[in-house]
């Protein structure tokens, strides 16, 4: 025999036989439910240990019609806020005895659908979706909802009477960030990284526009630069900020302040400003969005809009658990969380 025989995984019946009891008794010991005498329990526990028993979640799930598992679908993971969000979700789930499986989908409809499908087929008890909305994926998700799979949308929308929503007040975020710059005396304020195909981005832009209008500043289309329909995440948006800022700086009448759609984009913009030999915030003030850890530690440190990512994860998980444990259907609920302007050096000396 060239290689060692490996142990076959033991089943409840195997343990039962070894301990001289019925399989059901072992099941009771393992799941800690029902009556088992102390002496029997000890005997069974020993057998479990001896045989290295691990229960078969498939069989268990099949019978119980619940796997106590939740799926989280993320678009971009290389992003500090994805981490925070996942942490919030996971901690809440764990404290309620649920497990978390994460799927990544960063390449559009097919992948989204693929991810949802694989989660659904593995009978997760519910799904938290934090990817960008797209037609094919949304369609599939709605089908899942129709067949009783609890779904919560995080940082995005999914129109359905049984899907909950958690998000940040992006409009307000855009508004206060822009207002802050206006208060500092800026009139030519650019918006960097506009991507109208993403709901949250659109809201931030709308907040920006509203703040300008409220202060009787005309919106200059030239100052709203975006990347059309870019589909990149995390760090990659730094490049968008860099390129966009270069374009802005090359304008005859360049902006004196810029509001970037997220912190990475802002960081890219700061780099472009430094490269051009200009000073922040003297020549150009910068405000970002998200408050990633790095924002506080740059020099100059970055003024930004903080959104409570972990809290969003916690709330989404709680909502999902509500749906999972509720016997009766729950109507759509929406939680829009407040966000907070964190003023640092990049916008004020």
């Amino acid at each position: 025999m060239p290689t060692e025989l490996k142990k076959k995984t033991a089943t409840l019946s195997d343990i039962a036989e070894a301990a001289g009891v019925a399989a059901m008794t072992v099941s009771r010991v393992v799941s800690g439910v029902g009556y088992v005498s102390e002496s029997t329990r000890e005997r069974v526990l020993k057998a479990l240990k001896d045989h290295n028993f691990r229960r078969n979640g498939l069989a268990r799930g099949l019978k119980r019609r619940s796997t106590e598992t939740v799926g989280l679908v993320l678009g971009d993971i290389s992003n500090p806020y994805s981490t925070e969000l996942a942490r919030g979700v996971r901690e809440t789930l764990l404290s309620r005895g649920f497990n978390l499986f994460i799927c990544i989908s960063d390449a559009g409809e097919t992948e989204d659908t693929q991810a949802f499908k694989s989660l659904a087929e593995h009978s997760v008890d519910g799904i938290i979706v934090a990817t960008r909305s797209n037609k094919g994926g949304d369609k599939y998700l709605r089908e899942l909802v129709e067949t009783n799979v609890p779904v919560v949308a995080l940082g995005r929308d999914l129109e359905h009477r049984h899907v909950d929503l958690v998000g940040t007040d992006n409009f307000k975020g855009g508004f206060v960030a822009t207002e802050h710059l206006i208060e500092r005396g800026h009139k030519r304020i650019a918006f960097l990284g506009a991507n109208l195909s993403v709901g949250s981005q659109l809201k931030r832009l709308q907040g920006y526009v509203a703040a300008l209008e409220e202060n009787a500043i005309a919106v200059d289309d030239e100052l709203v630069v975006g990347h059309g329909d870019d589909n990149v995440g995390g760090y990659s948006t730094e490049e968008i900020g860099f390129e966009g800022m270069k374009r802005l700086l090359s304008l005859k009448n360049r902006p004196t302040a810029v509001f970037a759609r997220n912190d990475f984009t802002a960081i890219g913009a700061m780099r472009a400003i430094s490269d051009a030999g200009l000073s922040i915030p003297k020549d150009v003030a910068v405000v970002g969005f998200d408050d990633i850890p790095m924002a506080a530690r740059m020099s100059p440190s970055l003024t930004t809009v903080r959104q409570p990512m972990r809290l969003q994860g916690e709330i989404a998980a709680t909502m999902l658990l509500d749906r999972i444990t509720s016997k009766t259907p729950i109507r759509r609920r929406q939680r829009v969380l407040d966000c907070e302007l964190i003023v640092r050096e990049s916008s004020s000396e």
Copy 2:
């Protein structure tokens, strides 16, 4: 009735009844295996669509003893290379018809074990581990391996005759990075972020030491600064670089070059150097490790050691699939990938 009734998920038997065939025939249509006449297939397909059928992966997995699913356990996800790694794994798996579930564990033994356990209980066909090694987690993993669960370790070790290894040549990376600095004329070269409890970090440090010794430069303990047993990921290591560099700069005989354990740490170091009014690379040269996208885009751009993260993911996935599909046990295999020095501005003008 206050809320709408929702559809019950249809089973093979439901479809079979609707189409007037046996459940087995429906199964054949769904999985595309075995003989089914064209007319029957069409009838079944229609019924499947009408009833919105989704197959029950639990039952399927239970019967087939395979879920065609793989688990990837990551420590820190907010890290560009985790993304790349996951991408490599996922693409390879998808192309072979497997699904990927990711678990995050960033808080030590209990969480590691928890993650492994939940994957194992859900009967994934194999596990790729990319977390830091720790006693409790490793013990549990070995138990899994003993009960036939295929495991591949990525970027870390797990001693077991049936566990494959994929990693980068960290020793060489540390060596070439240090050698490069020596070639540039540096004699006082610091190592920043030493964490001896992590295998890969240790190897990088050893490479650093070896390069110094080969060039007859004594290792100065003062220049090896670390964080003992820190347990932080991604961005947080930027802080370690910042603090460590401040300490180094305060030495009476400060280093003229520094090799940081990863790019984030290097970025932190660069910040400390700039803050001290010193110039990079004139006063202090900096070399990082990983080549995250941002490294190329900073100013000055960061010299670093590139490791092929996506490739590592692909190889790990391939090795795991080998194990999953092989009928006979496979002996431990190890793939140590080469890494490459990318010279940029932070170490040469």
